[in-house]
Symmetry: C2
Subunit: 178 residues, 2 copies
Amino acid sequence: MPRAGLSPAALVDVALEELDAGGGPLSISAIAARAGVKPPSIYKHVAGLAELEALVGARIYDDLGHELEAATAGLERADAARAFLHAYRAFAVRHPERYRALPVHPLGHPLLEAAGERVLGIAARAVDGLSGDDAIHALRALRAAAHGFATLEAAGGFGLATDVDASFDRLVDRLVAP
Amino acid sequence: MPRAGLSPAALVDVALEELDAGGGPLSISAIAARAGVKPPSIYKHVAGLAELEALVGARIYDDLGHELEAATAGLERADAARAFLHAYRAFAVRHPERYRALPVHPLGHPLLEAAGERVLGIAARAVDGLSGDDAIHALRALRAAAHGFATLEAAGGFGLATDVDASFDRLVDRLVAP
DNA sequence: GGCGCAAGGCTAATCCAATTAGCCAACCCC
DNA sequence: GGGGTTGGCTAATTGGATTAGCCTTGCGCC
């Protein structure tokens, strides 16, 4: 029996394929099958399903963070907030299954905290320039709107034909209005 | 062995208790235990876990719908939208476990469609007076903001001490601004 | 007042995913 | 080319969902 060349990172890759393939929630058996290995072998690389899910979440937060970083680099204030919102939504639209797999509350989980904080930090930078509580309020509004819209869209929740881009633009305009 | 007096509705009651008690996702065994019955007995009343979850979701949407209805009754335009948003958030804060158990996308599921449409209808009434696409855009913004804020708050996602009520009020103001 | 029968419990059994135990080959380093 | 570690595997355990089939309860009806 030849080695399969697995590793935690490789398993995360496989899990992302599995997610993208749309088969609902992750399972050890499905991932093992896709990796060409028997289920127990998975445990040589990760502690169990919970840890693998966390690693997958961390990877997705990382990817999202990089895209948000790139989109907001060099921008400030309203421009940064706009870019943040658009990049956030774009990610969810491009990878709906991955977005759905993201734990809502990464902070407090050892494997997710770092990546989650990075995303939050980028959002915080987008409301820079506001003072004290104003920044907090703006940050929360940004998160709520971005997450709410992304969730509904990733779930296929906008049934009507009316242009969703336009709806999003309206929402963004309201949020970043002076 | 005396009868336990179960019924689909009674099982939904039990499931809600179980949810409120915080034990994560619903399970047939947990519900059976709480109902004082063995797991197989559950199947005399509902088809399986999936159906029970759907019935629970429908009940929660119903309750939410009633509260939204009561909160927006007699109001129009911005007043209705404000009332809708505040009642929506209040529900999620009062019953975070129930809010988390709500399927994001009720439409298209036979058992959830009716209750889901009712909630959507109330939101639609809150943006009445806008014409055509404007109403759609406003409705989507309302849903996204309400759901996003409720989700984050129900997940414990707002860590800082800064007043969350104030943050929500700011967001509402932005959304209903003329 | 008792009979017939559906409804609603139960036990036993099945299936399937997660996980653990313990074996053994493959690979790496010397 | 031997020794230890790594990473597969098979077999076994556990626990939840679900199904099959039995048996009593309780109600309607004679």
